[in-house]
């Protein structure tokens, strides 16, 4: 085959300015205004920078004997060729065939039905084998196989059609593909007899036709066979070559498109599933994409947005959860408090222990009133030690889990709240604990105690608020703690008979700095919820439907072997 290239036409399409260059090698990329023509039999494949299409031209086969390359180099025929091509290209331009729908050219070549079929296959490369077998020219062929290797991949893919209908898919290693590829490429005749070599993963039988394609990002192979033992004839070979030539640029473009499509799909999937909420806006600020994380984001948390400019004016907006400085401050405060309390505990331990021992000693030396009083002194100093120890533990900010005995644990915390809830009645109940072992379980005691402490204080403040407004008496106040053992968890419920929760509360409660108390920091519930989340739990708030007041509850999962 001989190849020719017509170079740039000027804008006015002056025929005199058409330059024709006769060359054998196709340029890697065509510039605008450049045309590449390939002749074969009675079709001409015209390629531009963006398009390729076919023209059937019986005229061409008449004046050029394509099998006589020597002819080209005689100046006479070269000149004649140039003139013809000029005329041809002008015709193309005049007829505005440049950029026209390839259908017309195809139809001319293949006939309407086949053309439509082939065009459909040109949307996805792997349909090609079936389409080829259904073409008129190839309808008595049995097997068509298309191999595609994308540059850089470890495998090559193949699609085989054997009954004009079903396409079977298989993979082969790049090594094997390359072996087959070089084998096909080396052959001059492109006529193969499978008995001459064993090509694995090639599913054609007997004599077959094959052609290799080298594209920018892919290599491909097409195999066609009658699955018989009669070698293909000259005409058949020519037909096949025409076909190969014809599909070549389209296959290239389709494979590239598919590769880009794949990349796009993967990118879209990544964006969909990335856990950061994000949106994409076009250059008119119109929302065109929201990912799953954005659609399912927690709207009660504050977010800060970060915009990233993309090409062509599009914008990617990332939504990041605001880390409030108070979270860090709280942590620092807790740590500092923990350290202070620890030091205090150690400093106080010695004198308190001394008091305890001394009074025990004196108690045993005396009788009656004196002995009793000394005994009380001893008892009280022991109590002091327990209180300081509990407070120290409350803020010791330990990150590790340990086993606690829930009854003692809860009682100790209530003791710590005494000063805040003095005068209010309290009641603690434990339900569903069927054996002593049930009362012991593993959790983070610091976290749990801080949460329970905070919820009791909150309940107390709700009641005291009502008392201040003369809506109830302090002695009528009740804070109830119910601890229930469930199958795989422990349910903690703190109920108060204060004013209950207003609608406004449910919307805003967990927003930082929201408070109904005149002196509240508005951080208690936010922090409590955060703490609960860190131990696998969740804070639930609701109004007590039976009586006035609110119920704050959370469920602590217990590991099954604790």
């Amino acid at each position: 085959m001989r190849f020719f290239c017509a170079t740039k036409l000027d804008e006015n399409l002056q025929k005199s300015h058409i330059n024709v260059v006769v060359t054998e090698s196709k340029p890697l990329k065509l510039a605008p205004g450049e045309y590449w023509l390939e002749f074969n039999q009675d079709i001409v494949l015209v390629s531009t920078e963006q398009n390729s299409f076919l023209i059937k031209s019986s005229n061409f086969s008449k004046w050029l004997d394509l099998n006589e390359p020597a002819l080209i180099h005689s100046s006479n025929s070269a000149n004649r060729l140039q003139k013809t091509i000029k005329r041809f290209v002008t015709t193309i331009v005049d007829a505005k065939l440049v950029g026209s729908v390839k259908n017309d050219a195809l139809i001319t070549f293949l006939g309407r039905d086949d053309a439509r079929e082939l065009e459909r296959s040109w949307r996805s490369p792997h349909m090609l084998p079936r389409v080829v077998l259904n073409l008129k020219d190839f309808h008595d062929y049995e097997t068509c196989q298309l191999f595609v290797h994308e540059r850089g991949r470890a495998i090559a893919e193949s699609w085989t059609c054997t009954n004009k209908k079903d396409i079977s898919f298989s993979k082969t290693s790049t090594n094997n593909f390359n072996k087959i590829f070089s084998y096909i490429k080396k052959s001059k005749s492109k006529l193969f007899d499978q008995s001459q070599s064993m090509l694995s993963d090639v599913y054609v039988v007997g004599n077959f036709l094959a052609k290799e394609f080298s594209f920018q990002n892919h290599s491909a192979l097409i195999f066609l066979s009658r699955n018989g033992f009669l070698p293909p004839g000259e005409d058949e070979l020519k037909s096949f070559n025409s076909l190969a030539t014809m599909i070549s640029p389209f296959l290239d473009r389709l494979l590239t498109q598919e590769q880009a499509g794949e990349k796009l799909n993967q990118l879209m999937l990544l964006m969909e599933t990335i856990p950061i909420p994000l949106q994409v806006l076009d250059n008119n600020e119109v929302l065109i994409f929201e990912n799953i994380a954005f659609k399912t984001r927690d709207e009660s948390i504050e977010y800060s947005t970060r915009n990233i400019e993309l090409d062509s004016g599009y914008k990617l907006t990332l939504h990041e959860e605001k880390v409030h400085s108070f979270d860090i401050d709280h942590h620092r405060r807790v740590s500092l408090l923990g350290e202070l309390l620890n030091t205090l505990q150690h400093e106080l331990n010695n004198p308190l222990f001394g008091l305890n021992l001394g009074s025990l000693d004196m108690s045993s030396e005396n009788k009656g009133e004196v002995a009793d009083t000394f005994h009380d002194i001893s008892h009280n100093s022991a109590r002091c030690q327990t209180i300081i120890k509990n407070f120290s533990n409350l803020y010791s900010h330990s990150k590790s889990d340990s086993t606690i005995e829930i009854k003692d644990f809860v009682s100790e915390i209530f003791i710590l709240t005494k000063s805040e809830i003095r005068g209010i009645k309290t009641s603690i109940s434990f339900n569903g604990f069927n054996s002593i072992e049930n009362f012991r379980f593993k959790t983070n005691p610091t976290t749990l105690s801080q949460v329970i402490f905070n919820l009791i204080i909150n309940a107390g403040q709700a009641i005291k608020g009502q008392v201040q407004q003369d809506k109830m008496k302090l002695s009528d106040g009740l804070i109830r703690m119910d601890v229930t053992k469930l199958e795989n968890s422990i349910l903690f419920e703190i109920t108060d008979n204060g004013p209950g929760l207003k609608d406004e509360f449910f919307k805003n409660a967990f927003k930082p700095f929201y408070t109904t108390k005149s002196q509240g920091t508005g951080l208690g519930l936010t922090i409590s919820r955060g703490l609960l989340e860190s131990i696998g739990s969740n804070l639930i708030t609701k109004n007590n439907s039976e009586e006035a007041g609110a119920i704050f509850s959370f469920e602590l999962p217990i590991p099954s072997n604790s």
Binding site: N349, N350, L357, S364
Partner: protein
């Protein structure tokens, strides 16, 4: 039985001494590490109860010094460290010497007094 008590908190020292004497043992009480080292060198004791945090030194320093007189087995048998700071480090160090550690305040006073005043076979 001769017991040495090394404790610098006056009320604890006085009370522990009296509580132990009520059980029939002879108790010598000192308030500093220096005094303790000197008296250990000059006298024999069946039990040495030593507070960890002393004004001038630590209980472990006293033990080190007493190695001049006692074998490792003796030290393990005689010494009992009492301390308010019961951390893992303290336990590990005490384990090196092989002696017991009791945290202050004592969880069970009677059990502690038993350890202090009963001769072991």
């Amino acid at each position: 039985m001769q017991v040495l008590l090394i404790e610098d908190e006056p009320l604890i020292q006085k009370s522990l001494k009296r509580l132990m004497e009520k059980r029939g043992v002879d108790v010598t009480a000192v308030s500093s590490g220096k005094e303790a080292i000197s008296i250990i060198a000059n006298q024999d004791f069946d039990r040495i109860i030593c507070d960890l945090m002393l004004q001038d030194t630590t209980g472990f320093d006293v033990i080190e010094e007493s190695k001049k007189k006692y074998t490792r087995e003796d030290i393990a048998r005689k010494f009992v460290i009492i301390t308010a700071y019961t951390s893992q480090q303290v336990h590990d160090k005490a384990a090196e010497y092989g002696c017991r550690v009791l945290g202050k305040p004592f969880a069970d006073l009677n059990a502690a007094l038993d350890i202090f005043t009963l001769k072991e076979d």
